[in-house]
Subunit: 353 residues, 2 copies
Amino acid sequence: MGAGKRELLTVGVDLGATNLRIAAYSPVAGLLETVAIPTRIQAGPLGIVRDMCDAVERLIGAHGEHRETAGVGVGSPGPLELPAGRLHAPPNLPGWDGFHLRAEMERRLSIPVEIDGDANVAALAEYALGSGKLLAVDSLCMLTLGTGVGSGIVLDGRIWRGASGMAAEAGHLTIDPGGPPCGCGNSGCLEAYASATALVNAAVRLAAARNDGSIPSANEAARLNAGTLAAAAREGNADALTAYTAAGRALGIGLAALVNLLNLPLYVVGGGVAQSWDLLSPSLFEELHRRSYVYRLTVAGGPASRGIPGGGTRVVPAHLGPEAGLLGACILPLQQPKTSCRRDASAAEPVSS
Amino acid sequence: MGAGKRELLTVGVDLGATNLRIAAYSPVAGLLETVAIPTRIQAGPLGIVRDMCDAVERLIGAHGEHRETAGVGVGSPGPLELPAGRLHAPPNLPGWDGFHLRAEMERRLSIPVEIDGDANVAALAEYALGSGKLLAVDSLCMLTLGTGVGSGIVLDGRIWRGASGMAAEAGHLTIDPGGPPCGCGNSGCLEAYASATALVNAAVRLAAARNDGSIPSANEAARLNAGTLAAAAREGNADALTAYTAAGRALGIGLAALVNLLNLPLYVVGGGVAQSWDLLSPSLFEELHRRSYVYRLTVAGGPASRGIPGGGTRVVPAHLGPEAGLLGACILPLQQPKTSCRRDASAAEPVSS
């Protein structure tokens, strides 16, 4: 567009049910400025879009003078229909059913807006700037274990969105058909075992079942989260340890499905629960090894591991922290256009003008 | 290569544990000639490769005079490492562990040989020449329910092979972690419910459990297969019907995983068991509907179905019959090279010289 090669600027938005995080980003300098504001759920989608767009415009004003604005990227809760950029009854954003997020933002901003699922953009960041970059792989799948279990799949350097943007719902893989109910209508979903919510619920249930007076009070239960539970497990709390082991087991079964179906070189596990990798990973790898012959053949040292980037199929904790989603939103506008060729550039490389 | 535009010729090989099927194929005329010869397992891999190559050379001699030979395609049992073209302890081909099938065939034939998994090439055929062509989709997943359960995934017109050729092992998705053991080392695999073998075993087990004298004799059991079992179900045999219903249920759980992960426009179910779609599909769709909110959103008429080719996510019985694997092997050498762009041509279009 402009003459010469100007530095690019993007703005990324992490649309969360509690907070909006908005950042200005340059492929050269990285994150330039990050702001966080509360998500005014009661203001409805139009009010929240106004808050987002005001922040986007302020950041472009502050950082865009000597840069070329390449676009705005948004990581959104789902279910999200793409390329329409329309939400379908998102459980965490009441009042957003049928809302055309992309169209409304583009109407306000008059610059291109790329939208994708929050777990998809986190996977993109991990691919382009995290463990995927470190291991030089062209594909990965990332699971994010938070309040729910999100996931994103990057194939040959691009987010795999599927026919309507709803791919990579690994959190709703059935782990046990007769397992606990999930908000999605299914029972026994991965999310019902391996989210922070599920982990806390499992520990509280286990304590109650022991019937020895160790049930946490309502106050204590409200303070429990993946971190406090991990601390308890390390101090010898059997229920906390059992909950982590069960989550790891479910993850191993889910990862076996992903390895058997996709045969990717890298699977990344992020989110708060994954920070206690030492508690999670033993049962995870035990199940994965048992339930995926593809994993046994392709893990480092396996008979079919040599041609795989990184030396064999890997399952690792995330390299990026909680900022993965925001970073992914920032680099989303720099992804190759859909018509370009595979395997020629990483998503972090700017599209030349 | 040659001057002008000559018609292309390929030879496809379906390497089965019982029979070798070899065909000459032209994109213009279709199958030109098909031969079938027994697989001489006792002759070992080199003997079988000689049989295959002799037949390939005979077919090229018979049909290649006025055509340009584009290559040979082989659909092979797995586990198969790609692009090496090497087998890893294939359960149905004893003595083939570590055998470099591709290298040995190219050494003998001195023409390019493309190798892929038997279920992958069947999926490619269904994509390029079957239901995928009819519905004009760019991606699909096909399950083949035979002695085992094979599967293949085509994304944007190309077989998804994964990092080492071992993707698309949907037959080894865990349906129930505590389910019946599978030959792969896992328990509760889809294959342990929905293969013809599993179906017959389930019906025999059910009859035995009834303890009312209706257990089939060893002779009767040996005659049972997916077809005879379907006939019995239609004549009111409760055990046969229950076995089909259970297979459909497992398929629905497995398909829910595939829909949630890949969000493809089309899932195809082929093989002998799928011929009784009326017996299989009610429980299949019941589970799929319950266990995949992505399916509920994207099925024809669903709120996010409009942008999907074919009008929404579809699950259909295969359009091609048992020749899918052989046809897929025939068109494998005509696939676009790995460096080409997505979404520009179907795999059935010849690569122009």
